[in-house]
Symmetry: C2
Subunit: 203 residues, 2 copies
């Protein structure tokens, strides 16, 4: 059997490695995260870093898993208890843009970064990102359909088009912030989302 204290210490190590990997990846991209640099940054040996995972790709995948969980916890979880349909959609948009504008990584929202980085590649990371995004789209689409059924959105609304607009506006926050220093990105994105959803934007 695995010892308890050592297992907990190992878990602690995993988390610190993943946290460092996420921070680094947000700035320079997921494949600029090298074992050696992580080892240096953490004061560990390369073997100690990679030993927790079995390969670099596994480490990358776990990093993706970490950020997906982070988004789920900070964007979806605070609003999932609300009434399905437009109310929850508006709340999702608010927490979404808030997260994107202040994700806790110095290189901006890591999910956006990895999404645009791996969209054109093949492999496990691409597939995982595509799957995660597809699920998120599904969540949004369901609430859009509910809103249409409730009469909160016009009948005949193209849910896919609405989803596209929302995710594009959310993803635009990071480059606007980091390339131009825009500090109103959260407002811009949220107002755009409200326009799409037919909600009045309070000044």
């Amino acid at each position: 059997m695995t010892g308890r204290a050592s297992a907990q210490a190992a878990l602690e190590t995993r988390r610190s490695v993943l946290r460092a990997a996420a921070e680094l990846a947000s700035v320079e991209g997921l494949d600029s995260v090298t074992i050696g640099r992580l080892a240096d940054r953490l004061g560990m040996s390369k073997a100690g870093v990679i030993g927790q995972f079995r390969s670099k790709e596994k480490l990358q995948l776990e990093t993706v898993e970490l950020v997906l969980e982070d988004v789920r916890a900070r964007v979806w979880k605070p609003v999932c208890h609300l009434d399905a349909g437009l109310p929850r959609l508006l709340a999702v948009c608010a927490s979404w843009v808030r997260y994107a504008a202040d994700p806790g990584y110095s290189g901006g929202c890591l999910l956006t970064q990895v999404t645009y980085d791996y969209d054109g590649r093949t492999g496990a990371v691409h597939d995982r990102i595509a799957e995660g995004r597809a699920r998120w789209r599904e969540v949004l689409r369901r609430d859009i359909d509910t809103a249409v059924a409730a009469g909160d959105l016009p009948p005949g609304t193209d849910a896919a088009q609405v989803v596209y607009g929302l995710e594009s506006l959310a993803a635009g926050i990071t480059p606007a912030r980091l390339l131009h220093g825009d500090d109103q990105t959260e407002d811009w994105a949220l107002r755009g989302m409200h326009a799409i959803l037919g909600a009045p934007s309070t000044g």
Copy 2:
């Protein structure tokens, strides 16, 4: 003096290197473009590849310059002769999304790729991208202001917000296409832009 024929051959080499670099960068990102892989792909030696440029960063910068020129030629140039204001804005949107949906690189629009890749970094590539995007924003903003003055957009229109919406919708095309295989991204983006600009979307 530089010979004419050899200089032309060298220029040919430059272009083929840059074209290969752009194609590779669109898929795997600008810093996955290594001298060795370019040399292999082009059937050249590493020295022959890098000899045209003085360092890898110079090659990266010239690749960025190439794609900026490409966008200018294929997005802006076809519509720049139109009347300033809303007419030209609508035409820009059309050629913009058309370009983003079919940029000629197998990894999607390279400008979008590099933008989201380097937004959080420091260095010459980041700075050049930021400068290019700032100029593009300026072009858009001017036509928006003209449209407002002409009464084609409501007075009090927030030009920065409109610009943000347009560039976000354009940038959303690539991941939607490549991650989910969406083939209606051009429509989605264009309709979203028309909604922002208050133009009716013809079905």
